[in-house]
Amino acid sequence: MPDAVSPTNGSNGSGPRVGVYVCHCGTNIAGTVDVKAVAEYAAELPGVAVARDYKYMCSDPGQALIQQDIREHALARVVVASCSPLLHEKTFRKALERVGLNPFMLQMVNIREHDSWVHLDGKAATDKAKDLVRAAVRRVVLHKSLQKRRVPINPNVLIVGGGIAGIHAALTLADAGKRVYLVEREPTIGGHMAKFDKTFPTLDCAACILTPKMTAVGSNPNIALWTYSEIASVSGYVGNYRIQVKRKPRYIIEEMCLGCQECVTACVYKDGKTPDEFNLGLSKRKPVYLPFPQAVPQKVVIDPEVCIEFKSHKCKKTCVEACGDREAIDFNQKEQIEEIDVGTIILATGFKTFDPLRNPYYGYGRFPNVYTSLEVERLINASGPTGGEVVLRDGKKPASVGIIHCVGSRDANTNRWCSKVCCMYSLKLAHLIKERTGAEVFNFYIDMRTPGKGYEEFYDRLLDEGVHFIRGRVAEVTDWPAHPSEEGKLVIRAEDTLAAFVRRIPVDMVVLAVGLEPQPDAQAVRRMFNISCASEGWFLERHPKLAPVSTFTEGVYIAGACQGPRDIPDSVAQAGAAAAEAMALIDSQFVELEPYTAFITEEECSGCKSCIPMCPYQAISFVPEKKKAAINEVLCKGCGTCVAACPSSSIQQNFFEDDEIFEEIEGILAYA
């Protein structure tokens, strides 16, 4: 049993007896803050019955120490000075509860994140810890017993985004018997993965592993698949979210369409004239189309921008004729808003690739044979625009290909981060291009990053295959020949940093390994779901190590590349984790809400109504009979804005009562 500092004056008064516990956190706190001195100081504060310091307060013996003291010293209040309350407030509250003390009789003091970790001067850090402990001791005395609210959880789950992460999460939940709404913006699910030909490092065919999962989504009775749809609004709180989904008109009645595509064949356009989005514009499609052969759902879409019927209303409508008595085509379809109730949400909104037009030196858009890596994925794909032939725009096979890494990655002028997947997919593309064309392939890289199971081995394989690796960031791609051997070629200029001179390498085809970026509407989405973004625009997880799929909003989880660049295995693992988190919440059936709601002392309310417009949740109403305001506790989310607005202080917020905060302020500033 560690030494307890016995107070010389403290607990003799009539107030509640307080116990103070100062955590060393190994050396995390004790390395900077003199924890013994803080405990000794606390022992002398009025009301303190016992004060101790201990190596790890959050450990089982640490908690047992508090519990024993509560019993032996008849403590009524507890102050724990350790890490951020966001980390261990729950832990210590439970410890109190287990020995019959109301969990809200606790006050945490953050002397790690806000103190020992950010200050170098031990004296100043110790003084700060003392100030904060003093404030907490004064505040905790005023704490009142509070009860958490229990609300039932709606077992339905909303998943936003139908890429591999969304698909995997949806199937996991649906297989466990949960009702899932999978909402996807595009007319088909599949996301980026559906565009790939092979996946690294195993080179298994992307379609072969993805399409069974897509089909399973389409046929699972527990999954409501809403493609071509977007989230319009989100309201409610954990366990009880209300979602409005905007369902864009595809001018096809989904239930009627069989996916036979006879309408596509019958369309008055003999050939497609519109750049095909799925093939990134490398081929053309018709106004009525199926995004790609394995699309799920197998339902066509009509593009009103190019369909003659929408332009002139004078089309012969051969498509309607072909559809016949299936009657799936409806030119009058309108956008619809559907409302659903769910308890938990998984965001799997993915990423976008860097737009290489932002770098004028690589000639994208100027030289036809400069491609993005995603375009090359389509060229290699057997169901792509060239049937899997890697050919240039003029149909010829390239004899030499340069793959430029880090386009829009690791660059302060565009994106500073490493996109994590490009080295590996560049190796994959190098292999596939070499296999299909026999071309000389040059990789221009800054650092080869192949950390992953089987990844380094794959790199070895590529080295064996005779692919060239030139360590240097490419400065430009030019068609200016400086030597007869460069005539008619695209010349890549980079320093071969290992040879220490600049090289010019003429190639037929250039592949830009574009990096990953947050979706352009990531900010709008995260606002809608009330979560945060890291500064680059990736969704912010609750904790980078210990809560990587949770967010700061209860019941909202994130999975896949919307959180940061990651490859398929990581996305799938995260999707599984998010599904499990959601399931854990659902299966607990109830969710406990913090009791930080506002309440009104009716006698003191003057009925001035200042509070009513303050509340964004319409939780406050005016009761005309009494001429008083009333708060609906169920609707109140506990922000406290009305409390600050009340001129008569008749509204208070549980756990954040005026007196408690005043006491804390004064405690901080009081000189002992």
């Binding site: 030196y361 800054i446 240097g472 960031r473 980079a494 320093e495 940093t497």
Partner: protein, 196 residues
């Protein structure tokens, strides 16, 4: 073929020089350099350099002073700023080239009769004297100190420029030239005071 030692000992390094380069104006981020070589590849002059700009950055930050200051690279830089604007780590390369040039001139380590430092000195002398540059006179002074034969090669161009009125034979001078001297005097004093 002369063989010489290529291994470097720690004693070959000048740690003071390394400290200086990362603390000089513009050197703040030199330690971030990831040696990608974009500077070298984007440089229009790198094809003639003994050390590419990338290598120069590394040599400097490691303190290989003799190699860095003795390199042709700093004299070939035309200050086109391309490396600097494209550098993925925003390293102020062009400025570092100036800093290295300034130091090389100060320490008098550059090839003899090498025209660029000579030109730089003449240029500055003319500003101090007249306040402005008269191109014809500047070229004359440079050639006199480097390779006089080149004057003949330029004779026909000079004549053409003269004919089109583009060659000023009368040096351009400003009034209140003493102000420039005052400025330079003050700069020298403050520099000493602040020890920069």
């Amino acid at each position: 073929m002369g063989l010489h030692r290529t291994v470097k000992f720690e004693a070959d390094r000048d740690p003071e020089f390394a400290r200086w380069i990362s603390h000089t104006v513009g050197g703040e981020r030199i330690r971030h350099c990831l040696q990608c070589g974009l500077c070298s590849a984007s440089c229009p002059l790198s094809q003639y350099m003994d050390y590419t700009p990338r290598r120069l950055m590394h040599l400097s930050r490691e303190g290989f002073k003799d190699e860095a200051l003795g390199s042709y690279t700093i004299w070939l830089c035309t200050a086109c700023y391309r490396c600097m604007v494209e550098c993925p780590k925003k390293i102020n390369l062009t400025h570092l080239m100036y800093a290295l040039k300034e130091r090389a001139i100060k320490e008098r380590v550059y090839p003899k009769r090498f025209p660029i430092p000579v030109m730089a000195r003449q240029f500055c002398a003319m500003i101090r004297g007249s306040g402005r540059i008269t191109e014809s006179w500047l070229m004359m002074r440079v050639f006199l100190r480097t390779a006089i034969w080149r004057m003949f090669g330029l004779r026909s161009l000079g004549w053409k420029l003269f004919q089109t009125g583009r060659l000023n034979l009368k040096p351009d001078k400003i009034e209140r030239r003493d102000e420039l001297g005052t400025i330079l005097q003050s700069v020298a004093t403050t520099r000493k005071e602040l020890a920069i």
